[in-house]
């Protein structure tokens, strides 16, 4: 075929939304001209606005083009072009200097989820390099769903605990609990399946501080609830079921452990506080009679689904939300049946499992490395800045001297951005791989340009599971002087004299992964590598929805749950032994800090929730005109709260607490519960000379703290808002 003819090539989008959609990319003369989406057989994997806008990202004038070194102050954004050789020389000599002067763990590897579900090009390139180099301080935790992961592991012994989306229309009743897939996508086609359920006449309820796009499109009823209090409502629903004898006692006896202890807590046998709907009403703001009705409807319309992902669990004691929700699904016997849902981490057992994604890559990319190199104490993602500032004296495992940042924008996306800046200024060396001059990139000493997924080959799977995977074909040559993380790290390995870092071509790596992946799925046969690469999309044909724990319920003798007891652990012996404060062995409601009863409300009376915007993926694509022209970045406030402050729709406002101050336009709306304000996370941090963030970055306001199990508490935050200057 002549090079001048336009052709179409299949790829996908690598960012962290949980969906994976088909991008059918038109290319002519090594230039991308248009992007279409799936028009193939089977349920089409249609892309959202963000995927459709990708051409503008690739050809953005703001792409980082060359390696650069910092010339101004950190954060000023002043850089000078240097050669790749000089850049790699500088980075490798700094790695050696820091390791020899201090210790390997003085190097903090902040490589996160900018590329997710990709087999080859992701944060593991640097992980492998630094491991071979002699170790580093790693990070742990997730800004998304740690409470859910923890709860699924604790309660069911696995995170493979969800149904495929095509099971949604099989429910008789659905609760969307703090769940807004219309904007977050979550899994490709989730919203499509919800609309099918609605059109079948299935009753759908949305429990959420906001009347979301999902609530508007799918729900028959919206129940506004105060952030951080969902667990109280769930436990009161359990109370109603117990008192009214609506729970499935046979199921509980056969498949679960410790329901009696949970029941005693719910009834208040020990603490003399029955967890009645009236008790929950004062906490949640949801009327007792509404709680009663929802409990009866959920228990009385079996099979019924509670669908959620992370938001209500991104709170002070977020794991309790997930633990209690799964308990509710066990109480109603909604586990192991089509139309039900364990209300746990939603990975369905189909397609390439995580072991074939991240785990497989981790094995391949870090295989044959000394075990000890991987065993350094990790820092939780909410504690990086505190750890840098306080070091060993503050009780942290290392004195950090250097940060190496890839696949992420931690100044923006981890809590307490002002503290992040203070911490980064303290370091001796900062290296960043990036595509754009992000708020984090501005703090780099050496800034290295990374290519996009259209400039390299990869394989991708939906990280929340799904019956397909996509070959992301290379479409154009790398623009400017950009390289992949793997290419950059390969260059560094040479400079560092590390042999064996990367002896394979991109194609050989992917071929190898694909062959290994074949052993890691029941979904057979997988096509051979070359066919897969050529066709681009591999959809697994399933004749019915995939249901979690079907065999554990049908034949429990031969199929115990993968927990210590072999049962669904409402009571967890493991948690009992762990003996961590505020991490009880049964699910409980625990009063959050920065909630409505915190004395701090006198100063900062409004609860802030930080949500996902439909026009960016976390902080990715906030700088694309096609997308950021769609909707202004605003903070939502209820009309009663706005009126009390003399604020009208469209006003500029200052939102603040002790951690920082942002300037942002206000949307006065009836779509949010009074007492709560809502801000889409991911807008780029842009502090002015007075330290006021003009970008409206939610993390300026968030407390750098995690829940006892490690959840990122981005919906636990108090602020005040006042009218700003025009």
């Amino acid at each position: 075929m002549s090079k001048n003819l336009e052709k179409t090539i299949i790829s996908s989008c690598p960012h962290d939304c949980g969906g994976r959609c088909v991008l059918k990319v038109h290319v002519k003369n090594n230039t991308i001209t248009k992007i279409e989406t799936d028009d193939g057989e089977g349920t089409q994997l249609r892309a959202c606005a963000r995927g459709r806008a990708y051409r503008q990202r690739v050809y953005s004038p703001d792409r980082l083009k060359y390696p650069m070194k910092r010339t101004g102050e950190r954060g000023e954004g002043k850089f000078k072009r240097i050669s790749w050789d000089e850049a790699l020389e500088k980075v490798s000599s700094e790695l050696i200097r820091i390791k020899e002067t201090y210790a390997p763990e003085a190097i903090l590897n902040i490589s996160y989820s900018g590329n997710t579900g990709t087999f080859l090009h992701n944060q593991l390139s640097l992980f492998r390099l630094l491991t071979m180099f002699g170790g580093f301080t790693p990070i742990w935790g997730s800004a998304s769903f740690w409470g859910s992961l923890f709860s699924s592991e604790t309660t069911f012994g696995t995170v493979t605990a969800g149904h495929t989306g095509d099971d949604i229309p099989n429910a008789k009743y659905i609760i969307m609990w703090g769940w807004n897939p219309a904007e977050t996508v979550q899994k490709t086609n989730t919203a499509h399946y919800l609309s099918q359920a609605k059109e079948k006449g299935i009753k759908i309820v949305s429990i959420d501080p906001r009347f979301t796009d999902s609530a508007a499109a799918f729900a028959n009823q919206w129940i506004p609830i105060r952030p951080g209090t969902d667990t109280a409502m769930i436990i009161a629903m359990a109370y109603v079921m117990i008192i009214e004898n609506l729970h499935d006692k046979k199921f509980l006896e056969k498949y679960t452990t410790g329901f009696d202890k949970f029941e005693a807590y719910v009834l208040g046998t020990d603490d003399k506080q029955p967890k009645t709907p009236a008790w929950a009403e004062t906490i949640t703001g949801v009327k007792a009679e509404t709680i009663e009705k929802i409990a009866r409807q959920y228990a009385g319309n079996k099979p019924s689904k509670i669908l959620t992902l992370g938001a209500p669990g991104r709170t002070a004691f977020g794991e309790q939300f997930h633990r209690s929700l799964s308990t509710l699904s066990a109480m109603t016997g909604n586990i192991g049946v089509s139309g039900g849902e364990p209300a746990a981490f939603g990975l369905p057992a189909v397609g390439l499992q995580p072991s074939a994604g991240t785990g497989l890559i981790a094995r391949q990319m870090t295989g044959n490395l000394p075990e000890g190199a991987r065993q350094r104490p990790a820092l939780h993602i909410t504690k990086l800045w505190d750890a840098i500032l306080k070091g060993k004296e503050g009780g942290y495992p290392a004195d950090i001297k250097m940060a190496y940042i890839t696949n992420g924008n931690p100044v923006n996306q981890f809590m307490n951005s002002n503290k992040a800046v203070e911490a980064l200024k303290k370091l001796e060396t900062i290296v960043v791989h990036e595509q754009f001059m992000t708020p984090t990139a501005k703090y780099a000493d050496i800034l290295l340009p990374v290519n996009t997924q259209f400039e390299r080959n990869d394989i991708i799977r939906p990280w929340q599971g799904g019956p397909y995977c996509i070959y992301m074909n290379k479409i154009i040559d790398s623009l400017y002087e950009s390289k992949s993380d793997l290419e950059i790290c390969t260059g560094l390995a040479k400079k560092l004299g590390l042999s064996g870092y990367n002896e394979l071509t991109e194609d050989e790596w992917l071929r190898d992964f694909w062959e290994a992946a074949k052993d890691m799925t029941d979904s057979k046969p997988l096509p051979d590598y070359d066919t897969f690469k050529k066709e681009g999309v591999f959809k697994i044909k399933t004749d019915k929805p995939v249901i979690a724990f079907e065999k554990e319920i049908k034949d429990p003798e031969n199929n115990p749950f993968p927990t210590a007891s072999g049962k669904i652990e409402i009571y967890s012996e493991k948690l009992k032994e762990r003996n961590t404060p505020d991490l009880p062995p049964i699910p409980m409601y625990i009063e959050p800090w920065e909630g409505k009863n915190d004395p701090l409300t006198k100063k900062y009376p409004l609860q802030l929730v930080s949500t996902h915007s439909k026009r960016r993926i976390h902080s990715n694509m906030d700088n694309m005109p096609w997308l950021n022209s769609l909707e202004p970045h605003v903070i939502w406030i209820n009309s009663t709260d706005a009126e009390a402050r003399g604020i009208v729709n469209g006003d500029n406002a200052l939102v603040f607490n002790d951690r920082g101050k942002i300037s942002i336009k206000v949307k006065v709306t009836e779509r949010i519960i009074p007492g709560v304000v809502s801000l889409g996370q991911g807008a780029w941090y842009s502090p002015d000379k007075k330290g006021i963030d003009r970008g409206g970055c939610a993390n300026v306001l968030l407390k750098d703290e995690h829940s006892p199990a490690g959840a990122f508490c981005s919906n636990t935050c108090l602020v005040e808002i006042e009218k700003g200057e025009d």
Binding site: T33, R52, A53, A182, A216, A217, W626, R671
Partner: protein
Amino acid sequence: MQIGFYFDQSRCTGCYACVIACRDWHDIKDTSIELRKIIPLEQGKYPDVKLSYISLSCNHCKTPACKEACPVEAISKRDENGIMVVDQNVCLGKDRCKMFCKEACPYDAPQFGETENSKMQLCTLCTDRLAENKNPVCVDACPMRAFDFGPIDELKKKYGEIKEVPGFVHSKQTEPSIIFKPRY
């Protein structure tokens, strides 16, 4: 024959995939040009609220007011399918003309953009794609499968004749070629 749209508003989540697909396919860099747009409508008082979206392009009206309003006859309507066409070589441009077409249109469909004396642009119904037997790009983009497209008489047979949703008034004068399934 008149081609038109069916828009199932009950399905639309306001995700903008149609808008971006349109901008990309037609390579429209100027974000002030909205060949397709989303119109959100919030109604009611907390907690009894309603939210709906309308995704709208040129409605390729049966009796287009823009065509009548154009002083230089730059706007025409194809006989075979009723698609509106603007001849940019004839259009005077926004600085030399008072944008009579835009003023006449009940739906603000004619688009001019921000560059100096830019010429009018209109949804072409992806005439280039129709020639290849493909749907307009917005129709195939919708993750919610909210659109259908084809001869308006056939669409009416299939989906009924609801011509209005809150926020959209059916102009009896121009007769827009669009029918709806309302959310509320």
